[in-house]
């Protein structure tokens, strides 16, 4: 779960603060050394939890003692043998995929509307949609829970998808908005003059050209949903749990290293996704 924290920062910082030149301090040898040292410490700080969890998942003993003094893959076997773990994993994947589709569609539409509409209250609308990024998770969780109780959405797949979509929306809107800002709207006039209606223009010109932003939005939506824990804890039921919820429940009750195996798999999945996406976006940008 620690993996997603720095990821989430990425689109936010590149959006809200226009790219500035680094001021010309720290060009001296000492300054540069200091900078490297500081970066090293921050990097280490972020990565240490991962460096602990991965070895832990291969421990031979049924305890979370670190460092392990014997090795095995029994906790992975245990994970896949236990239907409580596998069904939680399956629920998480299912919810995350649905959220990816819904949040990407809604977030892209919202970004289009917000960059182009000329009406009052646009800023307020944008603020409301980006709010889930700032409002504390617990506050959102309590609100969601009380509404879901009334609507009987607690412990349902639809409930998870809706709640996670709200959380994922800002992470779609931000990169898509950035892509749209760089999009030359004269191309849409050109398409219209050539006989394309507004939907055809969107599908054949606008969307392909903002695709990198949409793709990274989709990725962030998936990751946001896949490792969401606070809101999910509130709206879960014993019959429908996501993987992070199951892990939380497990760690509070027992000291079973299966949780480390689950965490390692989440880390591998999310980092693979992000690296692949980054690679493709970089290659595309170079091509254009």
């Amino acid at each position: 779960m620690s993996t997603s924290a720095p990821l989430r920062q990425a689109p936010e910082t590149s959006m809200s603060t226009p790219r500035r030149r680094t001021p010309a301090v720290g060009t001296s040898r000492l300054g540069r050394g200091l900078l490297w040292g500081l970066c090293g410490i921050v990097g280490l700080w972020l990565i240490v939890p991962v460096l602990v969890v991965i070895p832990l998942s291969f421990t031979g003993k049924p305890s979370l003692k670190f460092p392990p003094d014997s090795w095995s893959t029994r906790w992975y076997a245990n994970f896949f043998a236990d239907t409580a773990w596998t069904s939680a994993l399956w629920t998480s994947v299912e919810v995350a995929l649905l959220v990816t589709v819904v949040a990407t569609a809604l977030g892209t539409a919202a970004a289009l509307g917000l960059t182009r509409a000329r009406v009052r209250g646009l800023g307020a609308a944008q603020g409301a949609m980006l709010a889930p990024m700032i409002v504390p998770g617990v506050v959102l969780a309590i609100g969601t829970y009380s509404v879901f109780l009334k609507l009987q959405l607690v412990g349902t797949l639809a409930g998870f998808v809706m709640a996670h979509t709200v959380l994922a929306l800002p992470f779609v809107m931000i990169p898509v908005t950035a892509s749209l800002r760089g999009f030359d709207r004269r191309l849409e006039n050109a398409a219209a003059s050539l006989g394309a209606g507004s939907w055809t223009t969107f599908r054949s010109v606008t969307l392909p050209l903002v695709a990198p932003g949409v793709a990274s939005g989709a990725l962030f939506a998936f990751v946001t949903s896949f490792d969401e824990v606070v809101v999910s804890l509130f709206i879960q039921s014993p019959y429908l749990q996501t993987l992070p919820v199951k892990m939380y429940a497990s760690v509070t009750r027992e000291t079973d290293p299966t949780i480390a195996a689950a965490a390692t798999m989440i880390i591998v999945l999310t980092t693979t996704l992000v690296f692949t996406a980054t690679f493709f976006v970089a290659r595309r940008n170079r091509a254009q």
Partner: protein, 389 residues
């Protein structure tokens, strides 16, 4: 053709136009009737009326900010007029969306789709019209040949030079034989040499296709090279419409006279004098044909109509004369320009053809003469100086 509600499908055998190009079609007649576009209190286009005849090459010429692009965008359907109407072949189209107007548009910054190859860019309007693949390939080939880019179909726009990209944009705009081709400063981003060549290319393509062209530029030379007629824009209004020769020889306003070609402007108070008018300039009386309203007049004389004589020469009957000092000369090979200064300090410009050069030099006192009928009498317009200085 009635105001089609969908882009007109291409017939199997397009009618051959004047030049026999397979993309040739019939041009449409366009009528702008009292068109205005306001942004708040500001009128970007102010009651513009203009008729463009089928197959005509009409240029909208004017300084930057005079409303040319807005007018063109209203015709293309990118901007809705605040008031007025727009007809194509007699049918009102103000409420027809851009994608159903069947017009080709070429933009200053090319507006090629960067994610599509040249051939795919040109195929784009054909796909929208449901043209089958085999016919598409044929038309793309013809369009690329027309702009001399036959070998470039598989390239991406970023792999082409500016001039090549603009030619692709032209190919894309003509491949579906639209009844109107609109161009907004298409050569504005290119260097002079390329521009001169592409002007001739555009003229050739116009002759081959027979389509109605509406062309926007702020470059008067370009307008002179290309146009059948020119509409001169100023402050959102059309000052004058006509063939280049007419605008040059008989400008209707001081603005048109100064915007198109070079001239000497002589200002003074005017009174009626028989058939013509008398204008007091530099304590002398000049004569010009016709009359104007109001007391302040400007006489316009084109440089090739002026001649220099020895100082003190008396004017013959039917000629005007003013004393002047030679301030400089510019030798141009086939001609020579003399820059003169009049007694009130204002400049005058004389063009002499090679073979008929006078032997005056810088600093000489001379007499400047011209025929009375070569004087164009216009109402003075103090605003005009602001535009040109």
């Amino acid at each position: 053709m009635p105001s089609s509600t969908t882009p007109a499908p291409l017939s199997g055998a397009a009618p051959r136009g004047r030049g026999g190009n397979r993309l040739a079609g019939r041009g449409a007649r366009i009528e702008l009737i009292d068109l205005s576009k306001r942004y708040g209190d500001f009128a970007a286009v102010d009651e513009v009326s203009l008729v463009v005849e089928p197959g005509e090459f009409m240029t909208l010429l004017g300084p930057s900010g005079s409303g040319k692009t807005t007018t063109l965008n209203i015709v293309a359907g990118f901007v809705g007029p605040t008031s007025g109407s727009l007809k194509v072949d007699g049918a009102a189209i103000e409420s027809t969306p851009a994608h159903k107007r069947d017009m080709g548009v070429v933009f200053q910054h090319y507006a090629l789709f960067p994610h599509l190859t040249v051939a795919e860019n040109i195929a784009y309007p054909l796909k929208r019209r449901g043209i089958p693949k085999a016919r598409r390939a044929e038309l793309i080939g013809t369009a690329l040949d027309t702009v001399h880019l036959g070998e470039y179909g598989h390239r991406y726009p970023r792999e082409l030079s500016g001039g090549q990209q603009q030619r692709v944009a032209v190919a894309r705009a003509i491949v579906y034989s639209p009844r109107v081709l609109l161009m907004d400063e298409p050569l504005g981003a290119l260097d002079k040499k390329l521009r001169d060549w592409l002007q001739l290319e555009i003229k050739r393509i116009h002759a081959q296709l027979g389509t109605t062209f509406v062309y926007v530029t702020h470059d008067q030379e370009e307008a002179l090279v290309l146009s059948d007629r020119i509409a001169v824009f100023n402050h959102g209004r059309i000052e004058q419409v006509g063939p280049a020769g007419e605008l040059y020889e008989r400008p209707g306003t001081l603005f048109v006279a100064k915007f198109l070609g070079e001239s000497t402007v002589l200002r003074g108070d005017t009174t009626r004098d028989g058939d013509g008018s008398a204008v007091g300039v530099c304590a002398r009386t000049l004569r010009a044909p016709g009359h104007i309203e109001g007391p302040r007049a400007a006489i316009i004389v084109r440089p090739e109509r002026l001649a220099v004589r020895p100082a003190g020469d008396r004017p013959e009957p039917g000629w005007n004369a003013l004393p002047a000092t030679v301030a400089g000369e510019i030798y141009l090979g086939s001609s020579r320009k003399l820059e003169l200064t009049l007694p009130d300090g204002s400049p005058a410009l004389v063009r002499e053809q090679a073979g008929a050069l006078s032997d005056v030099r810088k600093g000489d006192e001379v007499t400047l003469t011209w025929r009375v009928e070569d004087s164009v009498l216009l109402p003075d317009d103090p605003d005009v100086e602001a535009v040109f200085t």
